[in-house]
């Protein structure tokens, strides 16, 4: 099976568009820039949710055989990563499901802020968004270490997992800029 599939292309496109929005809006003044960064955050978060759902499906299909949703051979593949019973879960919960839950929290925070930029609680939500996103970074580092050194036949690179990791890092950057805007008074 080819490594570059249609879903992977869609996720990469989402990452690309979100990154463009973030870079473009980062230095834009006032509310326009803030809304731009929030839109970029929603893009990263959406890719995170959909990518996690996709990896969860791969996980489920690999429990009863090989999956047609991702390559299972070679360096860049999912089979040896998502299909590895030793590393594909956290206390029995598939990583994909954990990803859906985590990005759901992030999505809720962004959407709330986006729907009411000037709410009294928006500062708290921006801080929360930053710290929730930041909390995911050690897990990303751990999972990258696992796929490069610990899974059967390592190193392997799981493309969908990598997309989700990039989405989270994009989310951290977006939350950082949002927090910076709040603190510097350039929110609106």
């Amino acid at each position: 099976m080819a490594v570059i599939t249609a879903p992977l292309m869609i996720f990469l496109l989402g990452i690309g568009v979100s990154t463009y929005l973030l870079v473009k809006s980062r230095d834009s003044p006032g509310e326009e820039g803030t809304v731009g960064i929030l839109n970029a955050s929603m893009g990263f978060s959406a890719v995170g949710i959909m990518g996690s759902g996709w990896t969860w499906s791969i996980h489920n299909s690999m429990l009863v055989g090989s999956s047609s949703m991702c390559a299972t051979e070679g360096l860049v593949q999912c089979g040896s990563v998502i299909g590895d019973p030793q590393w594909n879960n956290l206390f029995g919960i598939p990583w994909g499901l954990i990803g859906i839950g985590s990005f759901a929290i992030i999505w809720f925070l962004i959407l709330s802020i986006r729907m009411d930029l000037h709410a009294k609680w928006s500062s708290n939500y921006v801080n929360l968004l930053y710290f929730v996103s930041l909390a995911g970074v050690p897990f990303v580092l751990w999972l990258v270490l696992v796929e490069l050194t610990m899974v059967d036949g390592a190193p392997h690179i799981c493309p969908y997992c990598t997309v989700i990791h990039i989405a989270l890092l994009g989310m951290v950057a977006s939350a950082f800029y949002l927090r910076q805007r709040k603190e510097s008074g350039s929110w609106s």
């Binding site: 499906s57 429990l63 090989s66």
Partner: protein, 227 residues
């Protein structure tokens, strides 16, 4: 006298938008979960009959050395019920468990009878009870029937184990992680798996209270012998 008026900062909306944001988020997540499950339904995984056997990766002793063993590597995912693929007998034991010591003879006999159609796998656990300390040396000696004092709750030399030397893989589960994954607390327990990894027979279901009393040998005859 002129008074300077401070510029009013923008105020939030009258209604609390968080409820709506929560509902939208819940809707999106539900949609993603439903699509994911449609793409690949959640399989029933567990030791109950009819479920997919829980997969594991652990170190295995083959009589010469220890190497990584993954249960699902032995499954034939395309099994359609009629191929010549081999079934699996998963046998959980503890080198210090007296019942497992006695069962050594039965396991040897079953292997000599069924090894051409069934792959045997022994999982050596270390139950958390006194005198059940095990080592890899003890597991090797138990399997190979070589001299190592410490088997059967430290009462016997492993070379005296009933039965013949076992020439099938022994998995080290000293950490009890596979036992835990399979929801087990005691030994000996055996399972018969279909070639595709579906649990076909679970000893705990047939023996003890409410069970039909079917023995492992009878189950092998019924499931594998009559196929």
């Amino acid at each position: 006298m002129s008074r300077r008026r401070a510029k009013a900062s923008p105020r939030g909306k009258e209604e609390d938008v968080r409820t709506m944001a929560g509902l939208v988020t819940a809707g999106i997540i539900s949609l993603v979960v439903v699509i994911s499950v449609i793409l690949a339904p959640i399989p029933q995984v567990g030791p109950e009959e009819g479920n997919q056997a829980p997969d594991f990766v652990a170190d295995s002793y083959n009589g010469a050395s220890w190497s990584e063993y993954r249960l699902s590597d032995n499954f034939d995912w395309d099994w359609n019920g009629s191929s010549d693929s081999k079934w699996l007998l998963i046998y959980f034991m503890d080198t210090d468990c007296p019942y497992c010591w006695v069962a050594g003879d039965e396991m040897s006999q079953l292997h000599s009878q069924w090894s051409d159609r069934v792959n045997f796998v022994t999982i050596a656990a270390e139950l958390g009870i006194p005198d059940h300390d095990s080592t890899r040396g003890e597991i090797e000696a138990f399997r190979d029937k070589t001299s190592y004092f410490g088997c059967n709750s430290d009462r016997d030399d492993c070379i005296d184990r009933p039965g013949t030397p076992n020439n099938w893989p022994y998995i080290d589960d000293g950490s009890m992680s596979i036992m835990s994954l399979w929801g087990l607390s005691g030994t000996p327990v055996s399972f018969i798996l279909e070639p595709d990894g579906t649990v076909a027979w679970n000893k705990n279901k047939h023996q003890g209270q409410g069970g039909d009393g079917e023995e492992l040998s009878e189950a092998l005859q019924r499931l594998v012998g009559e196929q």
